[in-house]
């Protein structure tokens, strides 16, 4: 499912999005990157339907998300915002079961297939062994993966993640990014906000680079991660070289410019 943005303006003064027009490829992993305060999280909120647009439109698979009812949208788009609230006295399996809510009635009674979807999501996110543990007893990284499992249980064709690798050590960062790449290979459209340019370049199929609320570059990592881009966006002078493992462009900063 392709995500199309047309002349999108949204947000608050300092994080406002200025006239964003672009297309995010369906069935691929897209990473949104840019310096702090560039508007990437605002763009994330706009795509998730959390933020009303001042003008323009966002279409997912040809459907205007502003016109979708929240429940219908939740069957197409799963989202993991930054630092969700950890509810008290809830077990991991219960949290993951919330992912089925868009398909259930008012009381959240299980429907056929829900239990299997929850179990599959728990294992896919690597928290199968933690299913009966209380969320409040887990480490930050374990909680983060439990929330990712909740999104997986939602089983939507589009999945949006806002900085899912923060709070994770390198092992779980790799796990998480591998998982997102695998979701894209299954044919889902995955959009992720990332801080680390190297990780974004290595795992994403498509990069969207923002600065000051504007979209500055978009395209495959090989095309957009260049010394010129790093100077223009991050004010750093850096060398770009192919990653010895994947061949994706990696960077070594030299100094600020």
């Amino acid at each position: 499912m392709t995500i199309t943005l047309e002349g999108v303006r949204a947000g608050y003064r300092e994080f406002a999005l200025q006239d964003i027009t672009t297309t995010l490829p369906g069935g691929k992993l897209t990473a949104l990157i840019g310096p702090n305060g560039c508007g990437k999280s605002t763009l994330f909120s706009a795509m998730a339907g959390l933020l009303p647009l001042k003008s323009g439109r966002i279409e997912i698979d040809g459907r205007d998300i502003a016109r979708e009812r929240p429940r219908a949208l939740a069957r197409h788009v799963a989202l993991l915002p930054q630092s969700p609230v950890v509810p008290p006295a809830i077990r991991v399996s219960q949290l993951v079961a919330y992912g089925r809510a868009p398909y259930q009635g008012m009381l959240g009674m299980q429907r056929p297939g829900d239990a299997e979807a929850v179990t599959a999501a728990l294992h896919k996110a690597g928290v199968g062994a933690l299913r009966d543990r209380r969320l409040s007893d887990l480490s930050g990284g374990q909680r983060q993966r439990a929330f990712i499992a909740m999104c997986l249980a939602q089983d939507t064709p589009v999945m949006l993640f806002d900085e899912p690798t923060s709070f994770l050590d390198i092992r779980y960062q790799v796990d998480t990014l591998d998982l997102l790449a695998a979701l894209a290979r299954e044919g889902r459209t995955v959009v992720v906000v990332l801080h680390d340019i190297g990780q974004a370049a290595r795992y994403a199929d498509h990069l969207v680079i923002m600065k000051d609320g504007r979209l500055r570059h978009a395209g495959p990592p090989e095309a957009v991660v260049t010394p010129d881009m790093l100077g223009e966006i991050y004010d750093i002078s850096a060398r770009v070289y192919p990653d010895p493992v994947s061949g994706a462009p990696q960077i070594s900063p030299e100094h600020r410019v």
Partner: protein, 329 residues
């Protein structure tokens, strides 16, 4: 949710509630033996106590059950909406607004019979001001609680001013009301609140799962298909109505709304589909016990139920928080 556990706990609480209700009907200035209560209630052969049982203590106990349940449900909803374990109906200004309205009404010379109406109006107005704050986009739960606390302080100041400046005799009745008491309540009060509290309570149980989702935060809830900007104010309205009707009938029984949801969370965990019914039963039990104990302590003098819920509830509350090893609350 552990359904078996919720059922067991609910069964135990319901049994306790029945026993507490029988105790409540038997105890007081004139004590009525249990056999006489049974004779009166089920119209059996043998000695009966029609007046005390049917006209005085039964309606009072029914009112305690209704308002205790409603305050507990209201507290549980508000704690979920504000994502704050310290929240209760008092935090959104209901108790203070009701108290101020009652004081103003007494100053203006209103009759005692009208006080519940003024209390209801005052509670709703205070909560409405807080509710307006919740309509604002990006009104965080913490901000909502702060508005509520500020509105509460403002009303409390007004109450203090009136109590300090007015002649004392004028305020003996409002003072009893403000501590929360079921003294001299009868079927009229039950008939006034039951048609409101029963459907509101049923509605609260029906929306319990929405609270689970909303408690995750506005964005995650939205991601799971909850229309947060619409549902949050409606849920706040529901909690307000439950508490304001109860406060109007029995006064500021503030502690139940804070304590009952916490006790329930310790008993059955944080899933609101289990938490809400268990909190409701806990609230019912607490208020029935407090009211009965208030009459049993030193008859014929009555101690307000509000004073007793705090007196027994607070140490118990601190005990469960200290012994809670899970760090849930």
């Amino acid at each position: 949710m552990n359904v078996a556990r919720v059922m067991t706990v609910s069964g135990a609480l319901a049994t306790g509630l029945v026993l507490a209700s029988v105790w409540s009907i038997s105890t007081g200035a004139v004590s009525v033996p249990w056999a006489v209560i049974a004779n009166t209630l089920f119209d059996l052969e043998g000695p009966k106590q029609d007046f005390i049982v049917m006209k005085s203590r039964l309606p009072r106990t029914v009112l305690a059950v209704l308002t205790g349940g409603a305050l507990a449900l209201s507290g549980a909803i508000i704690q979920a909406l504000l994502r704050n374990a310290l929240a209760s109906p008092k935090v959104i200004g209901i108790n203070s607004g009701a108290a101020l309205a009652v004081c103003l009404a007494v100053m203006a010379g209103a009759g005692a019979a009208w006080l519940p109406l003024y209390a209801f109006a005052g509670g709703v107005v205070a909560a409405f001001i807080v509710w307006l704050g919740s309509l604002r986009r990006r009104a965080s739960p913490a901000r909502l609680a702060l508005i509520g606390i500020a509105v509460g302080f403002l009303c409390d100041t007004g109450v203090d001013y009136i109590l300090v400046t007015a002649p004392t005799y004028q305020f003996s009745a409002p003072l009893v009301w403000m501590t929360g008491s079921l003294w001299s309540r009868g079927w009229t009060d039950v008939n006034a609140v039951a048609p409101l509290l029963l459907p509101l309570g049923a509605l609260a149980l029906l929306i319990s799962y929405r609270l689970d989702l909303i408690r995750l935060g506005d964005s995650p809830a939205r991601g799971l298909g909850v229309n947060v900007p619409l549902e949050r104010p409606l849920l706040l309205l529901l909690a307000t109505a439950l508490a304001a009707v109860s406060v109007a009938a029995v006064g500021a029984l503030g502690f139940v709304g804070l304590m009952a949801p916490h006790i329930a969370r310790q008993l059955v965990g944080g899933d609101h589909r289990g938490l809400l019914p268990v909190a409701m039963l806990t609230g019912m039990l607490l208020v029935v016990l407090a009211d009965a104990a208030g009459r049993a302590l030193a008859p014929p003098i009555e101690v307000s139920a509000g004073i007793l819920t705090a007196l027994f509830g607070a140490p118990f509350f601190i005990f469960i928080l200290l012994t809670n090893r899970r760090g849930d609350t």
